[in-house]
Symmetry: C2
Subunit: 136 residues, 2 copies
């Protein structure tokens, strides 16, 4: 019997399935809080273990905060068959600085290539608090 | 010359283009704030003018709040050509009650059919504060 969410009845994915989906994809939607308001936008990301790594431009709210609460969502939804899945990583985004030494070097070699052409010199990682997924 | 975002350099979509994309799609990602943390999940929606209408289960944070700040994002991203667009509706979600009379009747007849099989008796609308879009 698969695990189901008590409130919605949706089948839950286990952590391993969630991490497999995350590793196979490279575009997600990042939700942040600006003021008291949520905002969401697409980002390219790569996984480094169970951490999500992405780049952002200077001046974003994320680089200003020491640890900004964020959620990254990925999904694969088929509007015709009305089926699919979604995975969410909730955690805190923090900038990866040179203090991280060797870790930063390894991350710089990851295939992270933002689509937008603007400068995105800041590398951030999401330190996960919860990784959850569900089948729709 | 298309308008560009000063910080990211991305081409901005005008309001009409955003509303056209919103009308042509039916699945978006809804970002909400739970505690101080953002959360994001897929929802089915329909448009009613410039308002986004969707359903939710009992017990959600959204039905508890009189006016909950939310953002709905839709996009169409091609990982191969690395191009696409995204549109975001920022605003306040509020439950549609019978006090709305004729408006509720009209909304009930909209083709809104959540994929998840659980009961979702609550109808909400997003009263938009900003509708923005960008080309990636």
């Amino acid at each position: 019997m698969p695990l189901r969410d008590a409130r919605t009845g949706l089948v839950l994915l286990d952590r391993e399935e969630c991490l497999e989906h995350l590793a196979r994809h490279s575009v997600g939607r990042l939700a942040v809080v600006e003021g008291d308001h949520p905002m969401v936008f697409p980002v390219n990301y790569v996984m480094a273990g169970d951490e999500v790594v992405f780049r952002t431009a200077a001046g974003s709210k994320l680089t200003a905060a020491l640890r900004a609460p964020v959620a990254l969502e990925i999904d694969d939804l088929d509007e015709t068959s009305r089926s699919g899945w979604s995975v969410v990583v909730k955690g805190w985004a923090e900038e990866i600085t040179d203090q991280h030494g060797a870790a930063v070097q390894a991350l710089r070699e990851l295939p992270l290539d933002p689509w937008a052409t603007s400068e995105k010199p800041h590398w951030l990682r999401i330190v996960p608090r919860a990784i959850t997924g569900r089948r729709l």
